[in-house]
């Protein structure tokens, strides 16, 4: 009956309204007003303090760089609904996007952003550099990747594999963009398996030159960032063949362009349009017996004398090879960290939108309900927010151990960076997808960023090591640790495995709310899972071996446990970084909300990760209790939602129009302007 009357009224309105003049009919009551969430939402903690904890370092420098981008037309500022937003114009052609990326780099270089990136080493300057990469990636992935190639891959290769003469010759010019470098490692036929690359280099004793060649099509260098248009030099990874003997993979410097023209015997082709990252000019390179001077061998690991003798301090070719992967570690550190910032962008946008957008009424004629007031919507976004907080602490931890690296810590950094890179980038893709859907149709507009970021960041699960391969390496490293400890009957040390030395934790059969929220219980659950999976994995591998399988094959056959173990290690490590971050805080309101987030992180891992039930770390009753607690935590985090996304360190201009006044942005008057 009610509905019938309503419909009649609407029809009446249509028939009787004399003139549909916009001012009267468009601005009247039933229309939705945009209410900034700041007016209705309240939170008790200090946003600045929370941001400090999350960004972790170089806040002032970050703000400076955000400001540099905001103040230049090159970063494509657009006014929408009375606010300025910056974001690349992804509607430009691939060629235009590449040129814009290069122009932006030039602008940043002129203002001293890259000063000291290669010429003044030290913890302080490395941390600033990592902060800048975070900030650049918040604007655009192509921008940060292109800069990453120049400094971390090309510059890093010269730094790590080169010796003083190389440093003196190349680093300053690289920092000043006199030289534009790239990193030719991957080939069409070999990606993650660098050891198998087919490019070959021989030595010509008479002319004291190396000769690089691409012997077959599968040996063409592939995906080389910067190779298609802009770079002048490259580090080439190649097998080194001396007097008919293969010495394994080595790195050489070759010039590929001179004054804009290709160098002799170099062929380059474009990798073409991609699903994202079109501001990076990925190319393919063929070397047709390219001659380079002897000094262009990056000789920190091995050298060739003028008369053609091979010399290396590292006798074992395996160890020699591992040394060559060092620059990829810095890449994984920045990938892990930038992935978390993309999740932050997605969540800030989706949660801000859900605090202003309403849908459906619970009672007839009642007001429509705010999206984030639906428990189901909370369940979609708030656990992802808690995970993103946890991973933010994990990324900060990774950055700290990276900048404080020593020869002894390299192995740990390799394992942690592999695990975090994989888990954080997977989490990012999942988060962006959920945020896209949570924004409904608005999530599909490029200007709203969330949807588009998926395409831009998808590559992160592949480059600098395929995520699945990395996770297998993590499990392999843990197994090696296990075998070493058991064989020598010594306690576990390193990788955070010390908990293996303690008695096996016990999970209570009755889980009350206060137990579920205690960090002791949460730690126990993560440690129990890791411990048991490591035992199982070791047992399964050795069982396969006892049946005559090779060690390698035994490992391959145990891939399911390897996968479970890799995740168990990552989750436990991330959780530990959360506990450590929490311990540095004394302010009560801040500690309180961090406690909620930490519990949410722990419990959502337990709820989502099948291993807890599969191997019985939690009983079905336990799992039900965990699930119930998650919904409680959702409703307790709900009031803090705005505060939590406002502390993420993403300035408004780097979010998107639907995060703010989306009614004005879409109004007819904004179409006319």
């Amino acid at each position: 009956m009610n509905r019938a009357i309503q419909r009649t009224q609407i029809l009446n309105g249509h028939l009787l309204s004399s003139s549909p003049s916009q001012s009267s009919s468009l601005s009247q009551k039933p229309c939705l007003n945009y209410n900034p969430p700041e007016l209705t939402e309240s939170y008790e903690f200090d946003l600045g303090e929370m941001r400090k904890l999350l960004d972790g370092h170089n806040l002032e420098d970050r703000d400076w760089l955000f400001g540099l981008m905001l103040q230049s037309r090159l970063f494509n500022p657009r006014e929408r609904g009375g606010k300025v937003f910056v974001s690349p114009d992804y509607n430009q052609s691939m060629e235009q996007q590449r040129e814009m990326t290069m122009k932006r780099i030039q602008y940043l270089a002129e203002r001293g952003v890259f000063t000291g990136w290669l010429t003044s080493r030290g913890i302080e300057s490395e941390l600033r550099m990592l902060a800048f990469i975070d900030v650049l990636a918040i604007f655009d992935h192509s921008l940060s990747v292109k800069i990453g190639v120049q400094f971390f891959l090309w510059g890093g290769a010269i730094e790590f594999f080169g010796t003083k003469s190389h440093h003196d010759k190349w680093l300053r010019d690289t920092e000043n963009y006199v030289i534009n470098g790239c990193f030719a490692m991957s080939e069409l036929g070999h990606g993650s398996n660098v050891r198998g690359i087919e490019t070959v280099t021989t030595y010509d004793t008479k002319r004291e030159e190396f000769v690089i060649s691409t012997p077959c099509e599968s040996a063409q260098k592939y995906w080389i960032g910067g190779a298609a248009n802009h770079t002048t030099h490259t580090v080439v990874f190649s097998q080194l063949n001396i007097n008919g003997r293969n010495q394994g993979v080595h790195a050489f410097i070759a010039q590929i362009r001179d004054a804009g023209n290709l160098c002799p015997n170099i062929r380059i082709a474009d990798c073409g349009h991609k699903i994202g990252l079109n501001g990076v000019d990925n190319g393919r390179i063929w070397f047709d017996n390219v001659r380079i001077p002897r000094e262009n061998l990056l000789n920190s690991v091995a050298d060739v004398t003028p008369d053609g003798k091979y010399m290396s301090a590292i006798k074992d070719p395996d160890q020699r090879f591992t040394a060559f992967l060092a620059p990829l570690t810095s890449g994984r550190v920045t990938i892990a960290s930038t992935a978390v910032y993309q999740s932050k962008i997605g969540l800030a946008i989706a949660i801000r939108y859900s605090l202003t957008r309403r849908a459906f009424s619970v009672t007839p004629n009642g007001p429509e309900v705010l999206l984030l007031d639906y428990p189901s919507h909370q369940r979609r976004l708030l656990p992802l927010l808690a995970k993103t907080y946890a991973m933010s602490f994990a990324a900060n931890y990774l950055k700290m151990i990276y900048v404080k690296r020593t020869p002894e810590s390299n192995k740990t950094i390799h394992v942690i960076s592999s695990a975090f890179k994989a888990v954080l980038t997977w989490h990012n893709m999942r988060t962006l997808q959920e945020c896209r859907e949570a924004c409904g149709g608005q999530g599909l507009k490029t200007e709203n960023r969330v949807g588009h970021l998926k395409a831009e960041y998808d590559v992160q699960s592949t480059f600098e090591g395929d995520n699945n391969v990395l996770m297998q390496q993590v499990s392999k490293a843990l197994l090696a640790q296990y075998i070493a400890a058991r064989k020598r009957n010594k306690p576990f040390q390193g990788f955070g495995l010390e908990h293996m030395n303690r008695p096996c934790p016990v999970i209570p059969s009755q889980l009350t709310s206060s137990v579920l929220r205690s960090s002791q219980f949460q730690t126990n659950a993560f440690c129990l899972r890791e411990r048991d999976l490591l035992n199982r994995f070791a047992a399964e591998v050795s069982q396969h071996q006892s049946k005559g399988e090779s060690k390698e094959n035994a490992f391959l056959l145990s891939y399911q446990l390897a996968d479970d173990l890799g995740r168990a290690f990552s989750d436990r490590s991330i959780f530990q970084t959360f506990i450590e971050a929490e311990a540095t805080v004394s302010d009560f309101p801040l500690k309180n909300v961090l406690g909620l987030l930490r519990s949410m992180y722990a419990l959502i891992c337990m709820e989502e990760e099948v291993a807890f039930l599969r191997y019985g770390y939690l009983s079905t009753n336990n799992a039900a209790a965990v699930r119930k607690e998650v919904t409680k935590l959702c409703s307790e985090l709900r009031p803090h939602a705005l505060g939590l996304v406002s502390s993420l360190g993403i300035p408004d201009a780097f979010l998107s129009p639907i995060a703010f006044n989306w009614v004005d942005v879409n109004s007819w008057s904004s179409v006319k302007n």
């Binding site: 007016l39 600045g48 540099l68 905001l70 103040q71 609904g81 009375g82 002129e110 001293g112």
Partner: protein
Amino acid sequence: MGSLSLRLVSSRDQEEQEVVVEEKSSSFVRILTLNRPKQLNALSLQMICRLWDLFLAYEQDPNVKIVILKGKGRAFCAGGDVASVVRDINQGKWRSGAEFFRKEYMLNFVMATYRKPQVSILNGIVMGGGAGASIHGRFRVATENSVFAMPETALGLFPDVGASYYLSRLPGFFGEYVGLTGTRLDGAEMLACGLATHFVPSARLSMLEAALCKVNSTDPAIISAIIDEYSQQPNIKERSAYRRLDVIDRCFSRRTVEDILYSLEREVIDKEDEWISATIESLKKASPTSLKISLRSIREGRLQGVGQCLVREYRMVYHVLQGEVSKDFSEGCRAILIDKDKKPKWEPSNLELISDSMVDMYFSKVNDEEFEDLKLPARSNLPVSAIAKL
């Protein structure tokens, strides 16, 4: 002005005389005149409170559509009356100084989020607090008599009154230049960089006022069109800093104050340039602490809303008044406003002596039980035009 009936709301006590209110018959316009010409209309606490009351009342009053703010004499407003604040500090009553800034910033916030158009007639000096009382409003009318400056770094303070919001939104790094050097801008430059929305020759101001008094609308487009009718496109003088935007962008975009100075000095290594030399000199004369906190303030402000800027600036000014790191504000006021020897002795005396953690102090939470963060009044359902002004 025979047709206009001028009505002083009250002339009994001094506080009301300092802001004269004109209400013209059958008009939807209120004209507020800052009336302390001898002090170049410097804002006293009483004036601030009076403006606060008037602005809030007018916002609710359906018979008011436009608020015009102007100054009597050769100044629009030369700033906050800091001399009295310094007197308080020197008598150990720095908390009442803080109270002055609190009220002033609250007024700035109301102006920045005002629902109705504020038209400020900047026919003379506009400095410091005077800028805060005008730039946040919808329309800023400059004239050939306008002189704008944010001179706080020479006083041991920092550009406050929401300047970290509006300076940071000027083109390129012009805001850093204006805020750090305290340089003076004329009306043409104000218009060019966006501090002013219009330039009207002073001879036409009375006609403009009369025209505005006939308006019965709060629509910014209509009001803008009326001011346009009296506006002119002034020429930017040959030696204007605005013609040096390339140098300003190159140098004032640098990461630190030291880098900015260094890059300016490099510009004049092999060629003489009077303007650059003068710029370097003004930076060297300013309080080093002020320069560092001002630069950071502008840069944080660039990423914050006007409310956040004012809250942060209030924390900063409280730290300045507490004088934990530096007492340059007292010293600056002594040298410039009280003893007038113009030779302040800054302490710390140079940039190298001021560490990042000392700068951090100014931005940190205040450790004082009596301190409370600036509590901005809730301003709901604001139209876009009320929020985005500069």
